[in-house]
Structure formats: structure tokens, C-alpha cells
Symmetry: C3
Subunit: 274 residues, 3 copies
């Protein structure tokens, strides 16, 4: 590839050397790779959050991008390492469900990552991100054929995790869940705005509020859907459509996740009443 882009997604946290070392490994094999941190702040071992963010951000990356995904509580066990190819991108990581949200029938292929020719010489029990996934990604970027990494696996044979909760409970009621909260305490949910018919399209007024919605979360009721954060008063809880197309809950000038004592997996209900 001419200007290969390798993207890192992990739960390393920001404060350690792990992501720096991974970049060293990649650069030492593919010296012209551009390396981008998608995030290293997946909540520790939260495979579902990682899978959700991966699915919802990959559209912003160019074709041929290679993602190295390291949320790997089973490292050192018998879980497989895999390379997944969609119609236009590559993903390297553990076979633990992290990559299961991006599988589709259209042009998707999966290979076991088992050929140690493409690993570092010494493979540790604790850091396959460095010793297995990163060198494989760099070799892919160098043009190594995906079939050389190991035998092909059927789509149905990889480990999957349940999709984010998203159910239509009644004609105008949907049930979703909290996926995670960001560093400002804004709560990202699985309620897909398009699917529930929430939209501000063709509405120019930036102070607009759609009154006909109610959201129930952690024994709180939030009335209305606001177009922007600035529609809410200081200290007020608000629901809005986040930048990835899902309903988010925030507390203006505050931390919604802390105030509501929210954790991943908590339920949220959306009710449309006009």
C-alpha cells in the first residue's frame, strides 16, 4: 500500500508505554505506515464498548485501513487470533466477539492468525497486541497476502457477543441500554435515532426542542429531545442525538453519568407520544 493507515483501538489507557511500543513494532516492519490512535480508553476489558465504537466509527476511515483491536482479557488462553477482511477494510484482533459487530455477508472473510512467521520472535503470554496483532497488521500493510496468515474460518465459527439491546416494545416505545459514558459524563445509548424516528432534519432553528419525546433512565424522566446541548439550562438533564446517530443523555454543565450513577448495560426507554 502507498500510504498505509493503521488504526489502534485498545483498553491500554493513556498513561503507559504499551501503545508506544505497539507503534514501534509496526514502524519497524512497515516504516511508511501512518498510525492513528482511535482510542486507548475503552473501559478495561469492555469488549462490547469496543465492538460498538468500532462499528460506528469505521465509516470515517479510508478503504484499506487496517484496525488493530486490543481488548483482550483472554490473552494467554486458547482464544484464537484472527484477521477479518470486510469489503474494504482489515481488522486484526482476538476472537472474543470484539470483531463480531462488523461481520456481514457481503465480501467478509476471516482468517486465523496462526502463522508465527508473522509474529515477533518471542511471543509473551500477556501481550499479543504487541507480539502478534501489531506485526501481522504491519505485514498486511506491506502487502502480505491475507491467506498466508493462517487457514480461513467460516463467518459462523467466530465468537460473537450479543448485539446492543434495542427492542421495539410497543408502537411508540423502544428499549435500549447504556453502552458507555464519555469523559464528560455524557451517556451514549444504543437507541438509534433514525430507527426510532427522531430527527431534526430540515429544521433550521438551532434552539428547537421536539416536545413529543420522553426518556426513562435510572428512575429519571427526561422530557423532550433537544437539538443541541445549548438548548438546556445549566444543571438540566437533556436527551439529544449524538454525533454518531444515537440518543445521548447529558447534564448541562455537569456529569450525567455520575449524577445518575449510571453504568454500562443500564436500561433506557424512549417513548414517542405524538
Amino acid at each position: 500500500m502507498k500510504n498505509p493507515l493503521i488504526v489502534l483501538l485498545s483498553d491500554f489507557g493513556e498513561s503507559d508505554i504499551y501503545s508506544g511500543v505497539v507503534k514501534g513494532v509496526i514502524s519497524s516492519i512497515c516504516s511508511n505506515a501512518h498510525i492513528v490512535d482511535l482510542t486507548h480508553n475503552i473501559l478495561p476489558q469492555n469488549i462490547k464498548q469496543a465492538a460498538f465504537l468500532l462499528k460506528n466509527t469505521l465509516q470515517y476511515f479510508a478503504p484499506e485501513t487496517i484496525f488493530v483491536c486490543i481488548v483482550d482479557p483472554g490473552v494467554g488462553s486458547e482464544r484464537k487470533s484472527i484477521i477479518l477482511k470486510t469489503s474494504d477494510k482489515y481488522f486484526v484482533g482476538p476472537d472474543n466477539g470484539l470483531l463480531s459487530y462488523i461481520i456481514s455477508d457481503k465480501g467478509c472473510e476471516i482468517y486465523e492468525l496462526s502463522n508465527s512467521d508473522y509474529f515477533l520472535n518471542d511471543v509473551s503470554y500477556t501481550f499479543h497486541g504487541r507480539d502478534v496483532f501489531s506485526p501481522a497488521a504491519a505485514h498486511l500493510a506491506n502487502g502480505t497476502d491475507i491467506q498466508k496468515f493462517g487457514k480461513q474460518i467460516k463467518l459462523k465459527d467466530i465468537v460473537t457477543i450479543p448485539p446492543p439491546l434495542f427492542q421495539k416494545e410497543a408502537l411508540h416505545t423502544w428499549l435500549g441500554e447504556v453502552i458507555y459514558y464519555d469523559s464528560f459524563g455524557n451517556i451514549i445509548t444504543s437507541l438509534d435515532a433514525k430507527e426510532i424516528g427522531a430527527s431534526f432534519e430540515n429544521i433550521q432553528d438551532d434552539k428547537i426542542i421536539t416536545e413529543g419525546w420522553r426518556f426513562e433512565i435510572a428512575e429519571h424522566i427526561i422530557k423532550g429531545l433537544k437539538k443541541t446541548y445549548s438548548c438546556a439550562k445549566a444543571g438540566e438533564l437533556l436527551a439529544y442525538i449524538g454525533s454518531f446517530g444515537y440518543i445521548e443523555i447529558a447534564l448541562r454543565n455537569g456529569n450525567a453519568a455520575q449524577t445518575l450513577n449510571i453504568k454500562s448495560g443500564d436500561k433506557i426507554r424512549a417513548i414517542k407520544f405524538n
Copy 2:
């Protein structure tokens, strides 16, 4: 451009995916761009801090560098997006004062960023950094003429914010303000060391202290100006000339901002008495 450099300045914080997604957008349009994080830790919505840091760091970047500036509390409202060209660099961001400190009469041009040919296909109400500023910056890096992004705006017509407080109160007295404090609690002020005549030039002794200064901040008095941090005793407050040429206040082996309970905008007075 041959090795285009795009620099990011935002209040995203470090812990989320927003900066990673912005890099994806840029790379997908301009695959050979080098992308550098100036900082993502502007205090939330603190336009003044962002404007101050931008002005004081841009000299360290090469000609033709493109800055993407995302401190954007008015996103989704009617505030304009703009591209500003100085004699040798480019700046993309909201028209909210963030870019107002770098305007000068010498070769400065401003264009509205309104041509949606250079936006992502779907523009959200909440994340113009991703959907508008980043793609525009990448197209600039690809060589798109600045006049194609929208109509030219007169310098006097963009939104400005007040300059940092810096007044000569008397022959030897200056009044300034706290711009922000860094992660160690060191307090960065608007007191320009050169302007107030504070200097250690031609002084080789690294233990030197200039006695003839007094600084008043938050009901504390700090005597003397020290050449380096190591001139102070443990637990002692000190004033020194920071690496960007402004007076800074630190607490040796401690956190000055917390100890003095300082916030952005607090006043500081410098008095020279010999």
C-alpha cells in the same frame, strides 16, 4: 503539498474517540498528511485559552501548516465556520473568537467555510470538527484553492474576543490575568516577560534570583523572580519566566493552582521596585 502537516487543537479531552475519528476523516481525504495533536485538553469551551495557546505556539510549526481548531460551544447554531490564512499558515475553525488573536494586517485573509462540496456528506448538529473543519483542512492540504471554500470576509467582520488583560498601571506596575494552569498546577499568566522588562539574558549563573520583583496574586505575595524552578525551596511559591515568555507561578513540589485556589481570569500584578 508534499508532506502536509495538520495540527489539531481541541477541548475533546484525551479519553474519547473524537480525535481519532477526526484523524480518520483527514486521512481518508489526504492520505499523506502528517497529523499532530497540539492539545485536546483546552478547558471545556475555554475559547480564550485556546486562542492564547494558538498564538503562542504557532511559531514552532513550519510554513504551510494547517491548524484545525475545535473549541466550539456554538456548534449547531448560526455561528459561521471560517478559514483564515496568515502570511504563512492556515487555520480552520468556528467564527467565535478562537482565531481572533492571530489576525494581523500583513497578508491575512479570511474565507467563510460554506461550500458543502468540502464537507462530509452528512453534517451533524454537534460535531463540525469532524464533519466540516477536518474535511476542509484535508482538502486544503490536497491543494484546493482557499477561494473555493466560500466567499471572502473582511478582517473586521469576524467575531473577536477581548485580548488577555495586560495593562501598565504605573511606571513600574503591570496588571495581568491568569490564562490557565497546566497539569502540574503551574499558573500561566498574561504578563509578557519582555514587555515588563524581566530577563535573565547574559546571566550564566543558574541559581540566580532577581530580587527586584514582587508579584501579587489571590492575596499572596511572591517576592523575587527566579531563573529556574530549582531556585525555590520545597513548598515555596515562585515566579519565573515560562517557556513561552510569560510569567508563570509555581509551587515547588506542589500544585500552585490548587493551593492558591486559582481560576482562569484571576488577576495578577507585577511590581518592579529597583
Copy 3:
């Protein structure tokens, strides 16, 4: 160099603009440099931690990599700046011991960094990382001969710091120390697993525990050496071989460093009893 790689190691912390400015300086001199953050989270002024991490991670970087090392409590004093060349890599930083762990007799050369032709025009008293080390690294990447930066220094003439504590106390007993703890509170020690004969090589069972070890740290006794983190029960302290080959102490689902009230330099003893 064709795709020069410059690696940054510092105690800046993540939240400020210092690393961004350093990247600006490097890019403005060597526009095709790839710049990687190894870490900016060295504990403030902890030269020993920086030296240890540098020594244990440089193997993951390609030949010709240039490391810029900025843990520099003596900046502004008379401490020298140096460039160190090993058989295949370059290191720029202060002469304060930071680079002393990587010196060897094989092809190692050291030069004083004193030729101000390779500095920024204005050199501050407080930020040689920006004004001296970074421009020198970028000039090196551009191919400037190392001898042009200043006069050669004998290996024995640079400042050294004591090596990490690692003593054989008895036939089966070793004494080491805590180097640092990571953001999860995992404690990284100086006990070299290979040197003390701790190994899981040729052991396929991922639930394996080697019973014949005892570790004493901060009045706690940890029995056994576990192959992976997942061998321990929730709330249990465990010893394991970390990904850089040293004994590490963790608390499953907790923060070992906080719970044990550990700090850098605390002692740890390993006893093998079968």
C-alpha cells in the same frame, strides 16, 4: 533517512501542549519524520523509571530510530546535553543518567550537544526539550553527521545513575525493587524473570500456576507465580511475568499499588523453594 522515526519519552504528562510543540519543532526541520509518543507519563523527574523503560523498550523499534528523552530536572543548570549512538540507534537528551542504562562497549559513541547551529534561535532556560533536543534530533534525521553537534565524550565521563536493585541474596533468594506502577496500579519490579529462573516456557495450560515461589513486598506475602492475570481470583494479589520480562505484582480487579501503598524504590524479595 527515508522514513525517519523519532520517538518521544518525557514526563510532560498528557494534558499540556509541550509534546505538541516538540512535534512542531521536529516537523518544521524534518517534514517527513514519523513521530511516535513512547510515553509522556514518566513520573515527574523520575530519571530511573525513564532509563529503565527506555532500556526495555528500544528493542521494539527499528534500527536508525532516534529517541528524544526529556526528563530534565536540571534544565537551565550546567548539566550537558548529549547525543548517544549505539550500534543501531540514536538518543538525544540531558546528561543526567537517563541514557546511562543503554551504554555498552559495543559501538557506542557519545557527543556533547553544544553546537548552537542546531538549536532553535532562542534557547529558553526551562525547555531544552523544545529548543535543543528536538531540533538536534530532526537534524540527525535529516542526515547531519553526529560529529557536527559537538565534541566526542568518553563513555566513562557521562553521568550515571545506580542500576535497578537486583541482588542474589542466597542460593534461591533475590532482592529487587519497585521501578514504578502503571495506570492500573500494576507494580513493575526489577526482578528479571529469566535471571531468577522463572518461566512458563513449554507449558501450554493457560491456567497453570507455579507453586514453588514466594514474593515478599511491603509486609505482604504472595504465594506462587501465575501464568496470567486470569489465574487469580477477584481481589487476590498475584505475581506474574510481565510483558517486558520482569516480575509484576497485580491485584485482580483492583489497584495493587494503592492497596499496598507502594512507591518507587520499595523492596521486593523473591524466594524459590523447590
